[in-house]
C-alpha cells in the first residue's frame, strides 16, 4: 500500500475542484496507475465546501484519504486550507491559493473570516506554498482559469513530469474549446512559476532564519 499517492483538492462549489481532480486522475491513468477519485460535496453546487480525494498507485482499494495521510493539499480557497490541513501527513505540503471567497454567513456577521489563513496554517506547523491563483487568473482575463493555475502549481510536486499533466489539461480544451488552449497553457505556466517562486520564497526565509 506504500506506493499510493494521496492528493486532496479542496475549495468551494463552483470553483472547478472536481474537474481539476479529474484531470489529475487522467494524468495518473495515462502513466498506467490505478486510480480512485471521490468527493464529499454535499450540496456543493451552491457554494458549499468541496473536498475531492485522489489516490493513485499500483492498486488502490479504499477511495478515501485517511486523516493525516495526504501527501499534497491543493487548496483553491484560503480558509478552506485551514479546514482541511489536518488531512496532511506531518511532512505533507499545502499549495494554497490566497484568494478568498467570503460566504454569506460571514457577510451577515455570524462568523468572521480569519485574518491570515496561510499564516494560521504555518503557525500550526503546516508547510505551505501560497500564491494568488485567483489574481493570476483574473490578470489572464478569466477567473475560471483558476483551476488550471492550481494544476500548474501542483505539477512539479508529482511523481511524474509536469508536461504529462499539462497535456491532460490542454487535451480537454482542444476537443471542446480550442480557442482556450493557449490561455490555459499560459495559466498552467503561470501557476507553475508561482509555486516555484513560493518555494524560493520559503527557502530564502529558511536561510534568513538560520
Amino acid at each position: 500500500m506504500s506506493k499510493i499517492t494521496n492528493i486532496l483538492v479542496v475549495g468551494t462549489g463552483g470553483q472547478g475542484v472536481m474537474t481539476a481532480t479529474e484531470i489529475l486522475a487522467e494524468a495518473a491513468i495515462a502513466l498506467g496507475h490505478d486510480v480512485k477519485k471521490t468527493e464529499v460535496a454535499g450540496m456543493a453546487q451552491r457554494g458549499g465546501v468541496v473536498s475531492s480525494h485522489l489516490r493513485f498507485g499500483p492498486r488502490v482499494l479504499s477511495p478515501q484519504i485517511s486523516p493525516g495521510t495526504a501527501d499534497v493539499l491543493l487548496g483553491f480557497e484560503a480558509a478552506e486550507g485551514m479546514r482541511w490541513r489536518h488531512m496532511l501527513r506531518p511532512d505533507g505540503l499545502a499549495l494554497m491559493n490566497t484568494g478568498r471567497l467570503v460566504p454569506p454567513v460571514v457577510d451577515i456577521g455570524l462568523y468572521t473570516y480569519p485574518d491570515d489563513p496561510v499564516a494560521a496554517m504555518r503557525e500550526a506547523g503546516t508547510r505551505v506554498y501560497a500564491f494568488d491563483a485567483s489574481g493570476i487568473a483574473g490578470e489572464l482575463g478569466d477567473i475560471r482559469l483558476g483551476n488550471t493555475v492550481m494544476l500548474g502549481a501542483i505539477s512539479d510536486q508529482l511523481s511524474f513530469p509536469a508536461e504529462v499533466l499539462e497535456q491532460c489539461v490542454l487535451k480537454r480544451f482542444a476537443s471542446k474549446k480550442p480557442e482556450l488552449v493557449e490561455l490555459n497553457r499560459r495559466a498552467f505556466a503561470a501557476g507553475r512559476a508561482a509555486a516555484q517562486a513560493a518555494l524560493r520564497g520559503e527557502s530564502e526565509a529558511c536561510c534568513a532564519a538560520t
Binding site: 500500500m1 468551494t12 479529474e22 486522475a25 487522467e26 491513468i29 490505478d34 486510480v35 480512485k36 477519485k37 471521490t38 468527493e39 464529499v40 454535499g42 450540496m43 456543493a44 453546487q45 451552491r46 457554494g47 458549499g48 465546501v49 488502490v60 482499494l61 479504499s62 477511495p63 478515501q64 485517511s66 486523516p67 493525516g68 495521510t69 480558509a79 478552506e80 485551514m82 479546514r83 482541511w84 490541513r85 489536518h86 496532511l88 501527513r89 506531518p90 467570503v102 460566504p103 454569506p104 454567513v105 460571514v106 457577510d107 451577515i108 456577521g109 455570524l110 462568523y111 468572521t112 473570516y113 480569519p114 489563513p117 494560521a120 496554517m121 500550526a124 506547523g125 503546516t126 477567473i143
Partner: protein
Amino acid sequence: MAAVMPAPAQSRLLMSGNDAVSRAVWEAGVKVAAAYPGTPSTEMLEVISTYPDIYSEWSVNEKVSLEVAFGAAMAGSRAFCAMKHVGLNVASDALMTLTLTGVVGGLVIAVADDVGLSSSQNEQDSRFWGRFAHVPVLEPADSQEAYDYTLAAFELSEKFETPVILRMTTRICHVKGLVTVGERRTHRGAGFKKDVGRWVMVPGAAARRLPKMFERERLLRAEAEVSPLNVVEPGSDRRVGFVVSGPAYMHVRESFPDAPVLKLGFSCPVPFEKVRAFAAQCERLVVVEEVEPLVETELKAQGIAVTGKDILPLSGELAPHVLRPAIAGLLGEPAPVEKIAAPLPVFPRPPTMCVACPHLGVYYTLAQLRNVTISGDIGCYTLGFGHPWNALDACISMGASMGMALGLDKGRGESDEDKKIVAVIGDSTFLHMGMQGLLDIVYNRGNVTVLLLDNRAVGMTGGQDNPGNGRDIHGDPAPRVDFAQLVKALGVREERVHVVDPYELPTLFKRLREETRIPEPSVIITNQPCVLIKDYHKLKPYTVIDDKCTGCGNCVDIGCPAIHVTRRDRVTKASGREVDLAFVRIETAACTGCGLCVQPCAPDAIVHAEKVSVINMLKKS
C-alpha cells in the same frame, strides 16, 4: 442530450459507479429505463439517456418509475429504474406486490443509500427492502463491480423471475475508478402473456403467489451459497475474519491486508452455510456493513457468533480510520497512534441559494410576514430556513408541506388561533407528491396559502427537466403542465389563484398579505426559471455607489451571495436608538442583474454597473 457513440468494448474508462451501472444497463439490452432524480442516484438516468436504442424517462415520482419499469418487465423486456433511498419508500407500495407476481424480463432497481448523509433528509438502509419484499440484494464495492453486478443482476432477475435490488451508496455512485467495459447484447422481449392468476393481484391470486415467493427465496439463498459474487479471500492473520459487504470491503482490505475476508456481493438472502464454513477458519468474526446490523442480526439468529455494531458505529461510513481503532480495541491492542494534526477552527460554509435565484425574493417577502407558520418542503427552497431569511419552519419528506400545513391549520393550539399558515413547495415536488396534499386541503376546507415555486426545473438535483418545463429527458419538446389550470382543477377557486413574478417584491408581498388574510385555500404561483437552466437569461449587472450607500443593510436581507458587506458600524440615532450599519459592495462579475436588491434600497445606491463607468469617465474628463 443527443445520443452519443458509446465507447468501444474492452476500453478501460474512468467511470463513477453511476456511469458504470449505466453502461451495463445499455449493454444488457435494457429496453426501458425510468427514474425520478435524487442525489446520489441522479446521474444514472442522465447517462442512460445518452445511450442509443434505449427508452429512458424522467418519471414524476419513484413509484411511477418503478411501475413503468415493471410494465416493461411484465411485457418480457429488460427494464431498469434508479432512485435514492427515500425514493424506494415512495415506490414500496408497488414493490411489495410486484414481488408476488415476479417478472418476465429482467428488472433491476438501483437504490442509492446516502450513507453519511451528504445530501438527504435521513440515512436509511435500503437492504431492509430485500428482507421485507423477499428479493435479492447485490452490493457492489466500486465502479467495476457496479458494472459487473448490474449485468449479473439482470441474469439473476430472469433466472428467478424476481426483481433485483442493486444497492448503491454515495461512495459507490460518485467514486470514479477504472472500468473495463464490454459489448451490447440485444435482448428480445418475450411479449406480454395474458395470465390473470399472475398479473391481477386480487386476494385469492396473491395468496396463491405467496408460496411461490417463499420458494423463490429459498432457491435464491441456495444460489447465494454458490454465487461467484460471494467469495472467501483467505488470509494469514486469522485472529479476525471479516464478513463484509458494499464499499466497506475496500476499507477492510485497505486496513487489514492479511485478514481473511468473506465478501458478500450477493448479500441477501445471506448464505448461512458459506458463513459457517468461513467462521471455522477464523478465531472470531466481525461483520462490517453500512449501516444497520442486518447481516449481523441474521447470523446471530442462526447461532453464528459474530461481532459488529457493538464495536462499530450505527451510522456513517466505515472508513479505515473508523475500523482500525475499533478492531484494535476488540483485540485488546493499543489503538494505532496516527500523527494527525488537529483541525483548525474555521467558519462553516453552508450551501446557499444561487446568485439571483428566483426563490430569494420569496423568502425575503416571507421574512417580512408576521404571525405566520411556514410549512416547507424539499428542494433548493428548503434553504429558506437559514440566514438571513429564517422563513421555513418544517420539512420532512417530498410533498409533506401540504398535509403538514393542513394539520397545522386543523390542529391549532390556543396560542396559534390567529396564526397564518403558509406552505412552500417547488414545482417538481408538487408534481411528485404535493398535488394530492393540495387536493386534501381543498376538499377538507383548509385555511392554507400555498406558494408554488415554479422555477421550471428540478433545481436541487442539478436542473433536470420535468413536466413543468415542457422538455423531456433528452431536452426535446414535451407536453407542459399548466399549474394554474391544474390547481383550479383540484378545486382552488379561480380568484384565489395568482401567478406572480418573484422578482417583483411589492406584488409578491401584496398577494401574500391578501391571501393569508382570506380564510380559504389559495395558491400563489411564481413564474421565473432557475438560473442554472437555459430558460434563464442574464441581465445587466449592478454595482453600489459607495457615497450613496447609507449602510442600512436592507439589500443584505435578500440573501444574494453576490452582495458582500465591506464595513460595519454602529451609530446612535437622534432618537437615542443604536443602529447597526452594514455597508456593501456587489460582486459585479457574479451579479446577473435580477434587480431584487435594488428594490429595498431607499437611497438608490444600487445602479447598473455600466452607468458607473460612464460617471467615472465623466469625472475623469
